[in-house]
C-alpha cells in the first residue's frame, strides 16, 4: 500500500506566470498519476489558490502574449476527482478576509489546533 503523503503548500504565486501553474500543485497531479496517495494542505498566502475565478490573463511583453495563463483555482479543483483531499488552514483564510463562499467547492477548512492530529494521519508531511 502506498504511503500517505501530505503536501503542505505555503510558497504562493512562485513563478506561476512562467510555469503557467503552481509547481507543487502540478507535482501533486503528476505524483498522483504515478500512483502516490496524496493530500494537500494550503497554508499562508497559498490559501488564495482556492479562491474562485482568479484571472491571470493579459500578460504580454512587446508582441509576445501569454496564451495559457495559470488557472490555479481550476488546477486545484481538478485534484478532487482524482481522490486528493484539499484542505486549507481556516485561520489563514479568515485572516485574509476570504469568505468561504469565495472558495471552490470540495475543499475542507481545518483549524490550526487540529494540524498535529491531521499530520499524524500521514506517513510523510512535506512542507513546500
Amino acid at each position: 500500500m502506498a504511503k500517505k503523503i501530505l503536501n503542505v503548500i505555503e510558497s504562493a504565486y512562485r513563478a506561476t506566470l512562467e510555469e503557467q501553474d503552481d509547481t507543487i500543485v502540478w507535482l501533486t497531479h503528476a505524483m498522483k498519476g504515478a500512483g502516490a496517495d496524496l493530500g494537500v494542505l494550503l497554508r499562508g498566502n497559498a490559501v488564495n489558490y482556492a479562491v474562485k475565478g482568479q484571472d491571470a490573463s493579459g500578460l504580454s511583453f512587446g508582441e509576445r502574449k501569454q496564451t495559457q495563463p495559470p488557472r490555479l483555482d481550476e488546477d486545484l479543483g481538478k485534484l478532487l476527482p482524482k481522490g486528493v483531499k484539499v484542505m486549507l488552514v481556516q485561520e489563514d483564510v479568515s485572516e485574509r478576509g476570504i469568505e468561504t463562499s469565495q472558495l471552490i467547492g470540495g475543499v475542507e477548512l481545518v483549524a490550526r489546533a487540529s494540524l498535529p492530529k491531521l499530520f499524524g494521519g500521514y506517513d510523510m508531511v512535506w512542507h513546500w
Binding site: 512562485r14 506561476t16 512562467e18 503557467q20 501553474d21 512587446g62 508582441e63 509576445r64 501569454q66
Partner: protein
C-alpha cells in the same frame, strides 16, 4: 530625442523561481513602450533569464501538447522586449555579469544581451536618470 531618459534595472533572480523575474520584465516593457532607454544589469542567477537553451515543453498534467501549452520561456520575453524597443525607437542595453555567466556555464544567451561586469553597472548608474535594484530575497 534630446530629452530621452534612461532607466537602469539590476536584477538577481533566476527564471522560473519567483514573480520578481516577471515583474522586472513588465517594468522594462512599460519603460520601453513609454520611450525610455533601458539598461539591465543581470547579476548572479538572473544571467539565466536570456539563456538560449530554454526549451518549451508539452504538459501532460495540463493535457496540452507543446503547441497548445505555448509554454513561455523568459528568453523569448527578453527577445520580445528587444523587438518592442526597436519598434519604439528605444534602446535596451542588457549586460550579463561575466563571472556569474561563467559560474553557471550560461554563456549561450540569445542575441541582444552582452557580456560585461560590475563596471558596466557603475556606468549605467552614473549615466541613468534612475536605477532600480530588484534583489534576491
Amino acid at each position: 530625442m534630446a530629452d530621452k531618459k534612461t532607466l537602469t534595472f539590476a536584477i538577481m533572480d533566476p527564471p522560473y523561481e519567483n514573480p520578481r523575474t516577471t515583474t522586472v520584465l513588465r517594468l522594462v516593457d512599460l519603460a520601453v513602450k513609454r520611450g525610455y532607454d533601458v539598461n539591465v544589469f543581470a547579476y548572479e542567477g538572473a544571467v539565466n533569464v536570456p539563456f538560449a537553451k530554454q526549451t518549451p515543453h508539452a504538459n501532460a498534467v495540463h493535457g496540452r501538447d507543446v503547441e497548445q501549452e505555448d509554454h513561455p520561456n523568459p528568453k523569448d520575453w527578453v527577445a520580445a522586449l528587444y523587438k518592442e524597443a526597436e519598434k519604439r525607437g528605444s534602446k535596451i542595453d542588457w549586460v550579463q555579469c561575466g563571472l556569474c555567466v561563467d559560474e553557471r556555464g550560461a554563456g549561450e544567451f540569445i542575441a541582444g544581451p552582452r557580456r560585461g561586469s560590475p563596471a558596466d553597472f557603475v556606468k549605467f548608474a552614473e549615466e541613468s536618470d534612475n536605477t532600480l535594484v530588484i534583489p534576491t530575497k
